[in-house]
């Protein structure tokens, strides 16, 4: 197995105390698995993404382990993480549009980056061009400044950069949200291609847009209020979700391609709880149609069927 996250807790420091943005996440990602990470904004999916690669203030590491290819990642230690970054684990950030230094030629910047990582040997210019072809970027982008590139081109350039050292895990954070539908599709396909060509072993695709996940993800992990709700193969999540939140999420998905997360779920009454001091037990219980007294206890995240994990007492009940 490629990535193994055990009971990871990362809090967001504010003046009025810690926001339990990520409150105990335990899951694994197999080799060659593309896992979608879905949920409303503020559910902690981005926090999770960042915690894995760049955990800086105001984020605060509380507890938990992250094991990548059998080696534990020192995620709490900015300096020691450097060794893993880009080589073993990499990210295509949400802000890919502004991720490139505006005053440096892209080629120059790439080289300076590689050199600073002491990876000249591993990355031949030919390889770089091959990657550009892969994302259908003309080679002379290397002689251009970011400002000369379109949004989509910049994003693809970032994809090339982030994956240049063949990391085993790639985190793609909201990469499509800024793009038009057509480009979205292209980008999504490229992600898959990266995986298929073995450039990256496995991937976490964080997004609002379940429809995208439908195209790329092998599995989907649904988060709610800083906790894991359900994880299963994309098919299962879409066709037969088991966690009541997932059900609503999917059912409130009118047509493929609609973004819902900006404003709160249409179908679901009530609001996501403030994570400053979240309610005891299942955090979804106030909004849950099927909630019952058991729900005051925190539901464990159990694998009910092969590769299908759920955190809901109802489900356990029906299977007890």
């Amino acid at each position: 197995m490629s990535l193994q996250v055990e009971n990871l807790r990362v809090y967001y420091q504010t003046l009025r105390g810690d926001v339990k943005a990520l409150d105990g996440a335990t899951f694994t990602i197999e080799d060659r698995e593309i896992m979608g990470l879905a949920g409303e904004s503020g559910c902690g999916k981005t926090t999770l993404g960042h915690s894995l690669i760049r955990l800086t203030a105001p984020l605060r590491y509380v507890e938990g382990r992250v094991i990548l290819d059998g080696a534990e990642l020192p995620i709490a230690d900015m300096a020691r993480m450097d060794e893993f970054r880009m080589k073993r684990i990499s990210i295509i950030p949400q802000y890919a549009m502004n991720a490139l230094n505006p005053t440096r030629k892209i080629g120059t910047m790439t080289q300076e980056l590689i050199r600073s990582r002491r990876m000249e040997a591993e990355t031949s210019p030919e390889e770089l061009r091959r990657r550009l072809d892969l994302v259908r970027l003309p080679h002379d982008v290397l002689n251009m400044y970011p400002i000369e590139l379109s949004g989509g081109m910049k994003q693809r350039m970032v994809m090339v950069l982030s994956t240049l050292l063949n990391p085993s895990l790639l985190i793609a954070d909201e990469i499509t949200s800024a793009l038009d539908v057509a480009t979205q599709k292209a980008v999504a396909e490229m992600l898959v291609e990266f995986r298929d060509r073995g450039i990256v072993k496995s991937m976490i695709v964080i997004t609002h847009d379940v429809s995208i996940l439908y195209q790329v993800a092998d599995s989907i992990l649904v988060m709610y209020a800083g906790q894991l709700a359900e994880k299963a193969s994309t098919e299962t999540i879409i066709r037969s979700p088991r966690h009541p939140y997932t059900k609503m999420l999917v059912s409130s998905l009118p047509t493929v391609g609609v973004r819902y997360a900006e404003h709160k779920l249409a179908g679901i009454p009530g609001t996501t709880p403030l994570l400053l001091d979240p309610p005891q037990g299942c955090r979804f219980r106030d909004r849950c149609p099927v909630a019952f007294r058991k729900c005051v206890e925190v539901p464990p995240f159990l694998e009910l069927a092969k590769g299908h994990w759920v955190a809901c007492w109802k489900e356990f009940g029906s299977h007890a």
């Binding site: 760049r54 080589k87 990499s90 950030p93 502004n98 505006p102 005053t103 400044y145 400002i147």
Partner: protein, 330 residues
């Protein structure tokens, strides 16, 4: 880029036009009658005074219709004729100014460039190095808040009078007449040092804190975060941040020029250093409005040229200007 320079040129052109017009208006609004003032203490007999009066009035072409005076002014301007100084009668204004200009160059150019470079370096260095940020940077605030003349006075007092290390007036010693020799050159530099120092220090502080605040923004910019996420060492990130923070500092330099000129002016006054600023003051005090005109004009031209130089540099360092967008930063 063409558009960028087009704009700039338009602005400079208009500025020059406006400046020259203001310049032309100067004598027409001066209180009192400059020529009368000039002759006043001459204690002449009335008719001699009258003759001289009419002569000067004619010499300064004040007896023509206004519109013609204005055209003549432009015309004369392009022939490098700025009239004759009354305070240094009968020396032509241009000659007086050309004598002063080198001192300004010698004073301003190094002061501006060095303080800018050093200040930025230092600011970048101090930024986010907590103890420096909290100990040395306050010094920057003090410096940039110091009135030029006060720093000048203090330096003159401590280094010049109390310790007697430096001369505090003039451009070179009175027992020398200008010639090429180490004795003379060192003497000139020796006189130049204090004015230079007071200009340098004040600006240095300004640039240091400016850079400090800029670079903090840059270090928080997306591209910095991305580089960190890709595990590139702090060195590279800081390096990029520094280079990018230099751009606003550069346009900042353009904005500062006016203030710096002002600083140079008072500094020259404090150290009676024979530059344009010093000249301008004497000209004003002596009601020599042709000289005032000349000084003002030279200062404007100087500032415009400097601005243009900065624009060129800006284009060289900021691709965004080259790629059609105006890289102006507020």
């Amino acid at each position: 880029m063409r558009r960028y320079f087009g704009r700039k040129f338009l602005i400079y052109g208009l500025t020059f036009l406006l400046a020259v017009t203001i310049d032309w208006l100067i004598p027409r609004f001066m209180p009192g009658d400059p020529i009368a003032n000039m002759l006043s203490r001459a204690a002449l007999n009335a008719d001699a005074a009258q003759v001289l009066y009419t002569y000067y009035t004619h010499a300064f072409r004040l007896d023509l219709p206004i519109w013609q005076q204005y055209l003549n002014f432009w015309n004369a301007l392009f022939h490098g004729d700025l009239g004759i100084s009354t305070y240094l009668f009968p020396t032509p204004v241009v000659r007086v100014l050309l004598r002063a200009v080198p001192y300004d160059i010698a004073l301003l150019l190094p002061a501006i460039l060095l303080s800018w470079l050093a200040g930025n370096r230092f600011g970048a260095f101090a930024a986010r190095t907590k103890w420096l940020d909290n100990t040395v940077l306050p010094l920057g605030y003090i410096l940039t808040a110091t009135p030029y003349m006060w720093l000048g006075i203090l330096l003159a007092w401590v280094l010049g009078i109390v310790l007697g290390l430096f001369p505090i007036a003039g451009a070179y010693s009175f027992d020398l007449s200008p010639h090429l020799s180490w004795r003379f050159l060192s003497d000139v530099v020796w006189h130049w040092f204090l004015p230079f120092a007071s200009l340098f220090l004040v600006q240095f502080g300004g640039w240091a804190i400016g850079m400090r605040n800029m670079i903090i923004y840059e270090l928080e910019a997306d591209y910095s975060h991305y580089l960190e996420a890709l595990g590139s060492p702090r060195r590279l990130v800081r390096n990029y941040a520094f280079r990018n923070a230099l751009l606003p500092q550069l346009s900042g330099l353009a904005l500062q020029l006016g203030v710096i000129v002002a600083g140079a002016l008072v500094t020259e006054v404090v150290f009676s250093y024979p530059g344009i600023g010093y000249l301008l003051l004497s000209a004003i005090q002596n009601q020599d409005y042709f000289l005032v005109q000349g000084c003002f004009l030279f200062i404007i031209i100087g500032v415009l040229v400097a601005n243009f130089a900065i624009d060129i540099v800006y284009v060289l360092v900021d691709p965004r200007t080259r790629k059609g967008m105006t890289g102006e930063k507020a």
